[in-house]
Amino acid sequence: MSILLTENTKAIIQGITGKVGSAQAKWMLEYGTKLVAGVTPGRKGQNVYGLPVYDDVLETVEKHGANATVIFAPAAYTKSAVFEALEAGIKLVIVVPEHVPVADAIEMREAAKAKGAYLLGPTTPGVISPGIGKLGIMPGNMFKQGRIGVISRSGTLSYEAAGYLNDAGMGESTVVGIGADPVIGMDLPDLLQLFDEDEGTDAVVIVGEIGGTAEEEAAPFIQKMKKPVVAYIAGRMSPPGKRMGHAGAIIQGGAGTAESKNEALTKVGAAVAFNLLDVPVLLKKAL
C-alpha cells in the first residue's frame, strides 16, 4: 500500500514532447509506472515511448481515465497547465517546475484545495511509491519498497534519507516531495493524515529544512496521530538571513530556525534526529 500514487493511479505527463518531459517519461515507464498518455497542445497523434500524445488533458481523462499528472512546463505556463489538469478532474498534480511566480502558486494552491485535489510543488521532485511507480524526477534506484512514509521538502535529502532507511533494512511505502517553494500545494497535516490512514505505512519520517513554519504548525496534528513520527531538519548550522538555495529556506526575523522546529516537534512526541544517520535508529525505537 501507499499514498497518493497507488495501484489505481493512471498518470499522464503534461509537456511530454519536451526534452525533459520525454526523458523523464522514459524513466518513469522503465520503473514500471502506469502512465497512460501525454499532453502537448498541438502535438496530438504523436507517440512518446509508446504513450499517445493529445492536445488537451480532458481527452486523456475521457479516453484513458487519467487521474494524475506530472507537469513539465516552463514556469510561465505552469499555472495554466495546473488549472487545465484540475478542471479536467485530475486529483493528483505533480508540479516539478522551479521559479514559478508565488502569485501563481497561491492561485494553484487555492484551486487544488477547492477541487479536493492533491498538489505537490512547485519545485517538487515528485512522489515515489517503490514497487508501484514514480511520478516526477526522483531516481528510482535510490528507493526500496517498505513500510516507512517519507515527506521531504528537498529532493536530494529524500534520496539520502531513503538510503539510510534502506541500509537499515526498512524501505519506504511512499516518499513525497512536498515542494521547496515558499507557497506549496499541500500542508504537512494533509500528508501526515494520509500516511496515518495508510495500511502500508508504519511510521512517518519528515525531512524538513530551515525556513517557514510548516513543521511548527503541523505539531498539533502530529500529537493526534496513531503512528510514530521521526523528523530531521536540515540547516541547523546555516546562518540567519541567507537564502540557502530554496526560496523557502531562509531564517527571517528569528522565525524558521531548526531549533524552533525541533522544539515544536519534540513537544508533541515526535522523535527528532540530529542527523539522517540517526533516523533509522529513532524509528526502530519508536516502532
Partner: protein
C-alpha cells in the same frame, strides 16, 4: 529583488501616494544643489537594498545645503551593511504629527496575502508588535482577491479613524494592495506612513520587494534594485548556481539545496567550518561543474572541498569530467572528496579515481565528511 528606497517611492507616486519631495544625488555637489532646491533642511539617506539603515548611520538630518554636502561626502563610497553606497536620496524634511505603519506581505504557510496596519509606526515597529501583537491589524486575502477602499474604510473606522485621514488611509491601502497583485510584489511596506499637521498623509519610506520568479513578466523592474555586493555571488549567478559565502575553510558543492544544508551541518559536527553553500541544481554539465569549483576555490580561505551529488537527468560522467578538469587547472592542489550516486556513477568513479580524487562509493555524505576530515587534519 528589493527596490532601492527612491525606486520604491516612484512606485508609490505612480499610485497617487504622496512622498516627500526629493532628488537622488551621486556626488556631494549634487547633494548640495538638491538641498538648495528643496529649501535647505533635508534628510540624506543612503540608497542600499536593506533595512536598518538608520541604526547603521546611513540616514542623517542636514540643516543646511552645506551640511547636506558634508554628510553626502561622508556617506557616498562608505560601506554600510555590506553595501558600498553609490547614491544618496536628498529629501525635504517633513513636520510629522504621527507615524503609522502599513504593509502587505505573503503568508506562505496559508498561501494568503496579508494587509497589515499599526497605529505605532517608525523604527520600533517590530518591538511594538512583538510586545503587543493585538496592535497589528491583519487582513487576509486569497488568490486574486482585492482590498477595495470601502472594506478598509470600515475596518479602520472601527479603529477610530475618520474623515480625511480615514479616506486617505483607505485610498493608500487599496492602491497598495492592487499594486501588490499587479506587480507580483512579495513585500511592500510604508514605514513610517506619516500624518502631517494638516491631516494629510505622506509616505516617508518605502520597502518594495518583487518576487524574483515573476521578474520575467514585470519587465519595468528589470535593472532596478542593486546587485549583491559579493563578487563571488555575482559570478555564481553567471554560472547558474546558488552560492552563499560563509566564514570557514571547507568548500561545499551539492546537487540540491537540502543536501547542501545537510553538508554544512555534518561538517560542523566534525568541527569543520564551511566556506560556502553552493547548490548546482539538477542540470550539471562538465563546464558548470568546473566553473563552480573554480568559483569555490577563488575564495582563498578554502583548503579542501566536499562534493555531494545525485545523478538524475544529467549523468555523473559529466560531473566527474568537470571535477577532473577543475582539479587539473588548480594553481594549488587541495583535497577534494566526492560522493556521487546515481546515473552512470560507476563510470564517474573510474574517472575520479584515475584523476587521484578521493571518492565515497555510497550515498553516505557523512562518510565523505569523515574522509575529508582525515585529509585536512
Amino acid at each position: 529583488m528589493r527596490l532601492l528606497e527612491y525606486q520604491g517611492k516612484e512606485v508609490l507616486k505612480s499610485l497617487g501616494i504622496v512622498v516627500p519631495d526629493s532628488r537622488v544625488a551621486n556626488t556631494p555637489e549634487e547633494a548640495y544643489e538638491a538641498a538648495q532646491e528643496l529649501g535647505g533642511k533635508v534628510m540624506i539617506k543612503v540608497q542600499i537594498p536593506t533595512g536598518g539603515r538608520g541604526k547603521a548611520g546611513g540616514v542623517k538630518a542636514a540643516a543646511t545645503p552645506e551640511e547636506a554636502r558634508e554628510f553626502a561626502a561622508k556617506l557616498l563610497g562608505a560601506v554600510i551593511k555590506g553595501y558600498q553606497v553609490k547614491q544618496v536620496l536628498v529629501e525635504k524634511q517633513i513636520k510629522v504629527q504621527k507615524e503609522l505603519y502599513m504593509g502587505i506581505t505573503i503568508d506562505n504557510r496559508h498561501g494568503k496575502r496579508v494587509f497589515m496596519f499599526c497605529e505605532a509606526g517608525g523604527m520600533d515597529i517590530e518591538q511594538v508588535v512583538s510586545k503587543s501583537p493585538e496592535r497589528l491589524l491583519k487582513v487576509e486575502r486569497g488568490a486574486k482577491e482585492n482590498l477595495p477602499e470601502y472594506q478598509i474604510r470600515s475596518i479602520l473606522r472601527q479603529r477610530g479613524f475618520s474623515n480625511k485621514t480615514l479616506v486617505g488611509l483607505s485610498k493608500i491601502a487599496s492602491a497598495l494592495f492592487e499594486a501588490f497583485l499587479k506587480y507580483d510584489l512579495s513585500t511592500c511596506e510604508i514605514n513610517p506612513l506619516c500624518i502631517l499637521e494638516d491631516g494629510s498623509l505622506v509616505a516617508a519610506d518605502a520597502k518594495v520587494e518583487i518576487d524574483d520568479s515573476a521578474l520575467y513578466r514585470q519587465k519595468q523592474f528589470q535593472n532596478k534594485g542593486m546587485d549583491t555586493p559579493d563578487e563571488l555571488e555575482l559570478r555564481a549567478k553567471e554560472i547558474g548556481v546558488t552560492y552563499v559565502k560563509l566564514d570557514g575553510e571547507i568548500g561545499i558543492l551539492a546537487s540540491g539545496a537540502g543536501l547542501g544544508m545537510c553538508c554544512i551541518d555534518l561538517l560542523a559536527d566534525e568541527g569543520l567550518k564551511p566556506a560556502n553553500f553552493l547548490e548546482t541544481g539538477g542540470g550539471i554539465t562538465r563546464e558548470l561543474m568546473a566553473d563552480a569549483i573554480e568559483l569555490v576555490v577563488s575564495n582563498k580561505k578554502v583548503k579542501a572541498i566536499l562534493i555531494s551529488l545525485y545523478g538524475g537527468v544529467n549523468s555523473l560522467l559529466e560531473a566527474a569530467i568537470g571535477i577532473k578538469n577543475a582539479k587539473e587547472s588548480m594553481e594549488k592542489q587541495i583535497p577534494i572528496v566526492v560522493k556521487a550516486i546515481g546515473n552512470q556513477d560507476v563510470e564517474a568513479w573510474e574517472i575520479l579515481r584515475e584523476a587521484g580524487i578521493d571518492i565515497v562509493e555510497t550515498f553516505h555524505t557523512e562518510r565523505a565528511v569523515q574522509l575529508l576530515k582525515e585529509k585536512v587534519s
